[in-house]
């Protein structure tokens, strides 16, 4: 079945530094969703990307979908302690609601 690989697994940054997590698939993706899970919390939807080469921004967060629709990235500019958590990419089916999650990237931010 389809899988998405996410790197890195962990990232420790100093507050104010940038952060990027990458999501890769061997097959073409119909869409990619990004979720954030705070420690002890549940996944919260951030965004969905559908179009080839799509770039979307949410304040300090920039999401990108690759031209070949096989990879995606999430970039956070000038991290803050509130950015701490695990960021998951998830492949969403265009026919059903099944989500296939990556392993996640856990971000720690040192104040």
């Amino acid at each position: 079945g389809q899988q998405v690989m996410q790197i890195p697994q962990y990232q420790h940054v100093q507050e104010g530094e940038d952060f990027t997590t990458y999501c890769n698939s061997s097959t073409t993706l119909s869409n990619i969703q990004w979720y954030k899970q705070r420690p002890g919390g549940h996944p919260v939807f951030l965004i969905q990307l559908v179009k080839s080469g799509e770039v979307k921004k949410q304040k300090r967060l920039t999401f990108q979908f690759g031209e070949a629709k096989k990879n995606s990235s999430l970039h956070i500019t000038a991290t803050q302690t509130t950015d701490v958590g695990t960021y998951f990419c998830a492949l969403g089916s265009s026919n059903t609601g099944k989500l296939i999650f990556g392993q996640g990237t856990t971000l720690q931010v040192k104040p």
Binding site: Q6, S30, H42, P43, Q48, V50, T96, G97, F101
Partner: protein, 114 residues
């Protein structure tokens, strides 16, 4: 407007027992999906219910079963519990069968099997 709710919050069971977890979807949503999240891992899809039927199933044994009621709420049942079933069980709701739509997750039920 209440979001997705799940009960109970925590549960401790012993091997071989059976457990039922409950989920109420976000208002206006008609689809419920269940996920298992082991510690340090991403959520794994168990199955999805739409129009009171199991529409899709992940790679989980028949010990995992579910149900959706006419009011769209759902139950997840796990029989013959194993130690490896210890995990956070997440319910997610969506609209129109969840086709490519964002999913709203509940707070989860933390199941510990001793």
């Amino acid at each position: 407007d209440a979001g997705v709710t799940q009960s109970p919050t925590h549960l401790i069971k012993t091997r071989g027992q059976q457990v039922t977890l409950r989920c109420s979807p976000k208002s206006g949503h008609d689809t419920v999906s269940w996920y298992q999240q082991a510690l340090g891992q991403g959520p794994q899809f168990i199955f999805q219910y739409y129009e009171e039927e199991e529409r899709q199933r992940g790679n989980f044994p028949d010990r995992f079963s579910g149900h959706q009621f006419p009011n769209y709420s759902s139950e997840l049942n796990v029989n013959a519990l194993l130690l490896g079933d210890s995990a956070l069980y997440l319910c997610a709701s969506s609209f129109l069968g969840g086709r490519g739509n964002e999913q709203f997750f509940g707070p989860g039920t933390r199941l510990t099997v001793l």
